[in-house]
């Protein structure tokens, strides 16, 4: 070690303070607000809607937006082929969309971080194994892999989460491994090792906190990918079961009525787009904030 005062690690300002700092750019902030609105809407869905999402009223089927049945129950976004209120279904769909996206992000993040840590820390055989596994996984187009996994595991919301989680761990593992390889040689790791810290303590206490920045960046950027994947699979009937209102499922229903009732497909799609837009802006904002070097080249694989 040199004689000059040495930084022990890049972790000087706690992460949550950096996230709230005014350096977060405007688009990122707007994205965060948008996501928050969707999240709160989804969580408070039963309070915000007058009709339950699955309540059918066959007398008011396929009514256009702005329609009120007998002047009493308003349907601002119209009704679907079973007379269900579109707005209510969209609001409840937000819940499904975000639950699936966030849990699968957490799941794939946990798996990817763990595998990346093992690969980067132990190196050699472990490294080769994990990285070959990553290569193998990347040989499958993402959506196709998720579909195949659903076919193997079965349909249902939690199987979907599992499938999406398995299909997306690689980006975390790669980022963690890459950053770890440079961190491993840093003085603070050496110091901790010198005072006799165990491997586990070294990994989780000293190294992991320094990796959180890039991991959070990957995670926020994956949220939109998961939202689109969930809606795609639900659209194909391989995702969330039909009794749960989901945006993809609504689009799938509405597809048959596209010639007569445009509002069945237009609104759920807009909801997806706005949410993904929010997630993308937020992700970009966080990336610029935490990891300026990561910069523009965002390569999304398969």
């Amino acid at each position: 070690m040199s004689g000059s005062p040495q930084r022990l690690g890049p972790r000087q300002v706690p992460l949550w303070i950096r996230l709230l700092s005014p350096r977060m750019n405007l688009a990122g902030f707007a994205g965060a607000v948008l996501l928050l609105v969707v999240l709160v809407t989804g969580l408070a869905a039963p309070l915000l809607t007058r009709q339950p999402p699955n309540a059918q009223d066959l007398l008011v089927r396929l009514r256009p937006p702005g329609f009120s049945s007998a002047g009493e129950v308003p349907h601002p976004l119209g009704t679907d082929q079973l007379g269900r209120d579109i707005l209510s279904r969209i609001i409840h769909g937000a819940r499904v969309s975000l639950i699936v996206a966030m849990t699968s992000v957490v799941l794939s993040g946990a798996a990817g971080v763990l595998l990346g840590l093992l690969a980067g820390f132990y190196g050699r055989r472990m490294d080769t194994t994990v990285m070959r596994l990553a290569d193998l996984q990347l040989a499958f187009p993402f959506l196709l892999l998720a579909m195949s996994l659903v076919a193997v595991l079965g349909t249902g919301m939690w199987y979907l989460v599992l499938a999406l989680g398995i299909a997306n761990w690689v980006s975390y593992a790669r980022v963690v491994r890459g950053s770890l390889l440079s961190l491993r040689e840093r003085a603070f790791v050496e110091a901790a090792r010198a005072v006799g810290a165990s491997d586990r303590r070294l990994l989780f206490r000293h190294i992991l906190p320094n990796l959180l920045g890039p991991v959070i960046v990957v995670a926020t950027l994956s949220v939109s990918r998961m939202i689109i994947a969930e809606s795609s699979l639900s659209f194909l009937g391989l995702g969330v079961p039909p009794e749960i209102p989901s945006w993809g499922g609504m689009l799938s229903d509405g597809r048959s009525y596209i010639y007569t009732a445009w509002w069945l497909t237009a609104f759920p799609g807009l909801a997806i787009m706005l949410t993904v837009l929010g997630a993308n802006f937020f992700g970009d904002g966080i990336r610029d904030l935490l990891d300026p070097q990561f910069f523009t080249r965002r390569i999304r694989t398969g």
């Binding site: 076919a151 939109s224 659209f235 523009t296 398969g302």
Partner: protein, 306 residues
């Protein structure tokens, strides 16, 4: 160069084997194909006999070895639903998927690169802003929703274009736009930032100083250098295209591999699902291999690095 290609081809073999094993495992875990083939009142001993005949009682690795052995000879099993060899079903559908993917890629490259360059040249103008806004929206839009909206606009309201089937060029337009939208948006963004770098380079100034016309400066000197990173990207985008084809083909009733695999999954037609997934994954890996080689060809530094 020959050594580089040889080296990459050698790496392809173990990867292809690993892929085939994963696909085989998926099908194995999915369920027992015999239960789908027989009627519910079949006697258990008949089922056992059938399983033995099909080799399902053999050890897993023996089954896998047989699967690979047959696959190498072009036999990927028989579809339960169609009662036809999976290979011939796939061969029948593959041209449609390749046509769609190629058209989408062409859209993504031509439209994406052109608008990216134009935006970079007119940086800060309303045009630039428009391109960037469209690129941002294009990456946030779920492709299948865009497809539905295109059907609504051009098929239903304006009645300009056919919305399903394959055969004429007109039928290709909407599916190709749908599948290509995300990549067009992505390419526009990447090419723009790439070109903003390039436009400030000395060699462009030199070219201008020599009196080369501006259009030639951009197209010949600029584009050549800007395209290098795109080659790798295009290969990665193949995955997006092949995965996205599944949905686009469903929306537009496009008779390709994507629809075949979705229907195979619906029908629990494991042999056919297995065959389709294997073929799609191999195409993707091959595309990456070709891109690697192309990259080495364009940029000689790559050849010596590895």
């Amino acid at each position: 160069m020959a050594r580089f290609i040889g080296h990459r081809l050698l790496q392809f073999i173990p990867l292809a084997l690993a892929i085939s094993f994963v696909v085989f495992l998926f099908a194995h875990l999915s369920g027992d194909p015999v239960t789908l083939m027989v009627s519910p009142d079949t006697k258990p001993e008949d089922i056992t006999r059938m399983r033995r005949q099909l080799g399902l009682e053999d050890p897993l690795l023996a089954q896998y070895a047989r699967f690979v052995g047959k696959a190498v000879q072009g036999d990927l099993g028989t579809s339960i639903r169609h009662q036809m060899p999976a290979t011939s079903l796939i061969a029948e559908r593959l041209p449609a998927t390749i046509e769609l993917a190629a058209a989408s890629l062409a859209v993504a490259l031509v439209l994406g690169v052109a608008s990216g360059i134009a935006a970079a040249i007119r940086r800060g103008t309303p045009f630039d802003l428009l391109v960037m806004a469209a690129a941002t929206l294009g990456q946030a839009m779920p492709p299948f929703w865009l497809g539905l909206m295109l059907i609504l606009t051009f098929g239903v309201s304006l009645n300009w274009l056919p919305v399903s089937g394959r055969g004429s060029l007109a039928q290709l337009i909407l599916p190709a736009l749908t599948l290509g939208s995300f990549l067009t948006a992505m390419n526009a963004q990447i090419v723009r930032s790439e070109f903003l770098d390039i436009l400030g380079q000395d060699y462009l100034r030199t070219a201008r100083a020599k009196g080369v016309p501006e259009a030639l400066v951009i197209l010949k000197h600029g584009l050549r250098n800007g395209l290098i990173p795109l080659v790798t990207l295009v290969a990665l985008q193949m995955g997006q295209l092949l995965g996205g084809a599944v949905i686009t083909e469903t929306i537009f009733a496009w008779p390709g591999l994507g629809r075949l695999v979705v229907n195979a999954i619906y029908d629990r037609d494991y042999p056919l699902t297995q065959a389709c997934v294997l073929v799609l994954a191999l195409i993707f890996v091959l595309a990456n291999l070709i891109a690697d080689i192309a990259y080495a060809y364009i940029d000689p530094r790559v050849r010596y690095e590895r």
